[in-house]
């Protein structure tokens, strides 16, 4: 496994990819899958960034405050996100389209505020109880939690992705997976056919939250310091871009989109000043000219059919004259 990973990284080196960059690409792949699940069910949710933060902070709490290994930290982070997703999902998933998007953006902002002010709120409560001014510092708010050891290894990320990919493939073939697609195509019809729409949506929301949290735990143990500003609106938009760029018709698309958009700033270091311009242009170009994203088997098939039929007609008209 190690040698395969090394080989892949060597292949990508001319594109500016080094091992840390590759690791971040894999984290982005996990985030892409997180939002893929919700998009596949027709939910325009931007909550992944907020759940990534929850995963990161709980995961770091596990490894730094309670001195647990990374694996347990991962499980704790994912569990925390999954549990929090339940009371958030129930009321919010009834909304659709832009309303759901705004509500989930709001969720992300609330997570941000909680992280920033947690210490102060606890300090205020303790001060009220004890009567004298108490200063409390645990999750450090804007200062961030630093000196996190680099526990994440490339193999863990690859294994995790393989397992999740396997799981998603099974999911697509299952009845649950078909319910997801049915809901995306027409929610009312799906409900009429007896699908428990609320149940399906909430389960998907929880799964998506857990994936985002896993990405958060992994990423925290790569960047070695976590600050709340890394998980805000900008991050939510980035994650959305992964799925859009890669294409939402297959789960591979989100992985490709995530890895490409993360590698792009590194590849473009040669034209450093224009990196932002290029990224915006790439996103626009894909939406305008490749509506199915980069990985679009259906679109590709349609294009091939079109090209073939045009060639055929050209050949026929040639033969006729």
């Amino acid at each position: 496994m190690d040698s395969i990973i090394e080989f892949v990284i060597t292949l990508l080196k001319p594109l500016g990819v080094t091992e840390p960059v590759f690791q971040f690409m894999l984290v982005s792949a996990i985030l892409g899958l997180s939002i893929y699940l919700t998009l596949y069910t027709g939910m325009f949710s931007l909550a992944s960034a907020g759940f990534m933060a929850i995963g990161a902070y709980f995961g770091v709490a596990a490894t730094q405050f309670w001195h647990l290994p990374l694996g347990l930290g991962l499980i704790i982070g994912m569990l925390a996100a999954g549990l929090i997703a339940i009371p958030i999902g129930l009321p919010v998933l009834r909304l659709k389209d832009i309303y759901l998007a705004i509500a989930t953006i709001g969720f992300g902002e609330v997570v941000n505020v909680v992280i920033l002010n947690f210490d102060d709120v606890v300090a205020a409560i303790l001060t009220a109880v004890q009567g004298e001014r108490v200063r409390f510092r645990l999750i450090e708010g804007a200062r961030g939690i630093k000196n996190i050891p680099r526990l994440t290894e490339t193999q863990y990320l690859v294994f995790f992705l393989i397992i999740v990919g396997f799981f998603i493939t099974r999911l697509h073939r299952s009845r649950f997976g078909r319910s997801m697609a049915a809901i995306r195509d027409d929610e009312r019809a799906a409900a009429n056919m007896g699908i428990n729409v609320t149940y399906v949506k909430n389960i998907v929301f929880i799964l998506s939250a857990m994936l985002a949290a896993a990405a958060g735990v992994f990423s925290a143990h790569l960047t070695r310091i976590i600050t709340p500003d890394a998980y805000g609106f900008d991050r939510a938009v980035d994650i959305l871009s992964f799925a859009v760029l890669g294409g939402t018709s297959t789960w591979v698309g989100s992985i490709v989109g995530g890895m490409t958009l993360t590698a792009l700033p590194e590849t473009l270091r040669a034209v450093n000043q224009y990196r932002g311009v290029f990224t915006g242009m790439v996103l626009l170009a894909v939406i305008l000219f490749l509506p199915g994203g980069l990985v679009d088997p259906a679109g590709l098939r349609a294009t091939i059919r079109r090209v073939r039929s045009r060639l055929r007609r050209a050949a026929e008209s040639q033969g006729a004259t």
Binding site: G16, T18, E19, P20, V21, F24, L116, N117, D120, G141, A142, R143, G144, K146, N147, R150, L222, T223, R224, I225, T227, P228, D229, A230, T262, P265, E266, R269, N272, Q273, R275, G276
Partner: protein
């Protein structure tokens, strides 16, 4: 007789240039006397620099890059590293993003094989990226990292930027004495690690000087309207308003505090140390006290020389503290290379750690045993739209 007078005039004419030259003492930066010209250096010595050249932090990163360019040009022109030896800098943009900082550091250290690194711009980037330099045995010097614990990451991690914990205590001590302070109100940004760390130190310093904090209020980065907080804080009638903020917010706070009728002193940290704050708050800035590592009104001779060189090189732009610290950082790095007479990372690290009493625009500069900077910070007060030095206080790390 005429011939003697003529001879005298001739002698005087020959001596005159030498006499006149005596009056213009040209200040040369660097350890020219203290270390001999190096002999064992390769033709090119390459260092790296990670700055936020794009994104929200680029206002600092661009200033830093320009300053380093200026320093490197001077170093090469004056043959500081010896005849025929060129110092080269490879820049990498971190865009204020931890992940890009890690990628940049990895590229510089592993791919480009630089022997030392300047930067990164933000403390959070440093916490992410510096361990890579440490693990690879490459010295890295922060020129704008002010958070606590930077050099704890390892003995290859240095910084030349005075942390707030070195500047603020002196500022508060002097202000308390000069203004006979007993009660203040504190306004700080609680969503930025720089401003919240500054707040931590302000509180400690105020308590150490027996100054009571009547009220505290917070704001967020990007806030433009502070009337709510100011109304609350000023309602307690503080003797001074202490703020921990970045330049953009600080400007608004100062303007709005005056608009709210407050005429007392305003005390701030590094974030207020920008010419833009004074220009944009106009008359409101009267009486604002700022403690900082460097200020454009500094009386240091090397500082004046640096300001002139920077203005000449960059179309009359005035340098800021980030530029001053980056410029000094580049010279420190070159000095370590010169005095160690080696382009090997380990030797550079050892040589850097030994630098003591290096004259710079920041003052007389030394590294302490934890590789943190030691030099005299400056406390100033704004009068008539310009900063004037309130005094200086020697602080220990």
């Amino acid at each position: 007789m005429v011939r003697r007078v003529f001879a005298l005039i001739l002698v005087l004419a020959l001596l005159a240039p030498a006499v006149m030259a005596q009056d213009e003492e040209v200040l040369q930066m660097g350890f020219w006397e203290e270390c001999e010209d190096p002999a064992g250096l390769p033709e090119t010595v390459t260092i790296g620099a990670i700055f936020a050249q794009s994104g929200a932090a680029s206002v600092y990163g661009i200033s830093q890059s320009q300053a380093v360019d200026l320093a490197v040009a001077e170093i090469n022109e004056s043959a500081y590293l010896g005849e025929g030896v060129t110092l080269e800098v490879i820049y990498a943009d971190s865009a204020g993003d931890k992940e890009q900082a890690i990628a940049a550091m990895t590229k510089l250290v592993e791919e480009d094989g630089v022997v030392a690194v300047l930067g990164p711009t933000l403390s959070s980037e440093a916490f992410s990226a510096d361990p890579i330099a440490q693990e690879n045995g490459v010295p890295v010097m922060g020129v704008s990292n002010t958070a606590a614990g930077i050099t704890d990451m390892g003995d290859f991690v240095f910084r030349d930027s005075l942390p707030e914990s070195a500047v603020i205590p002196g500022t508060i001590a002097q202000a308390t004495e000069a203004l006979s302070l007993t009660q203040v109100a504190v306004l700080y940004g609680n969503d930025d690690d720089f401003t919240i760390s500054g707040y931590d130190v302000f509180v400690e310093a105020l308590e150490a000087n027996y100054v009571e904090i009547l009220a505290e209020a917070t704001f967020a980065k990007g806030d433009v309207d502070f009337s709510a907080q100011l109304t609350t804080l000023l309602g307690t009638n503080p003797e001074a308003l202490v703020i921990s903020a970045l330049a953009a917010e600080a400007t608004q706070i100062i303007v709005q505090a005056r608009q709210a009728g407050y005429t007392g002193p305003i005390i701030g940290g590094n974030g207020l140390n920008s010419p833009a704050v004074l220009t944009n708050s106009g008359e409101a800035s009267e009486g604002v006290i700022v403690g900082a590592a460097w200020n454009i009104a500094s009386p240091e001779a090397l500082s004046t020389a640096f300001i002139e060189a920077y203005s000449a090189a960059y179309e009359d732009a005035k340098p800021d503290q980030f530029a001053a610290q980056a410029y000094t950082g580049a010279w420190l790095m070159a000095t370590a290379i010169r005095c160690g007479d080696s382009a090997e990372s380990l030797a550079i690290r050892d040589s850097l750690a030994e630098i003591v009493d290096f004259p710079s625009p920041l003052g007389m500069f030394s590294f302490d045993e934890d590789r943190n900077p030691v030099h005299t910070p400056v406390v100033q007060i704004a009068t008539g739209g310009a900063f004037a030095v309130l005094g200086a206080e020697m602080t220990e790390e």
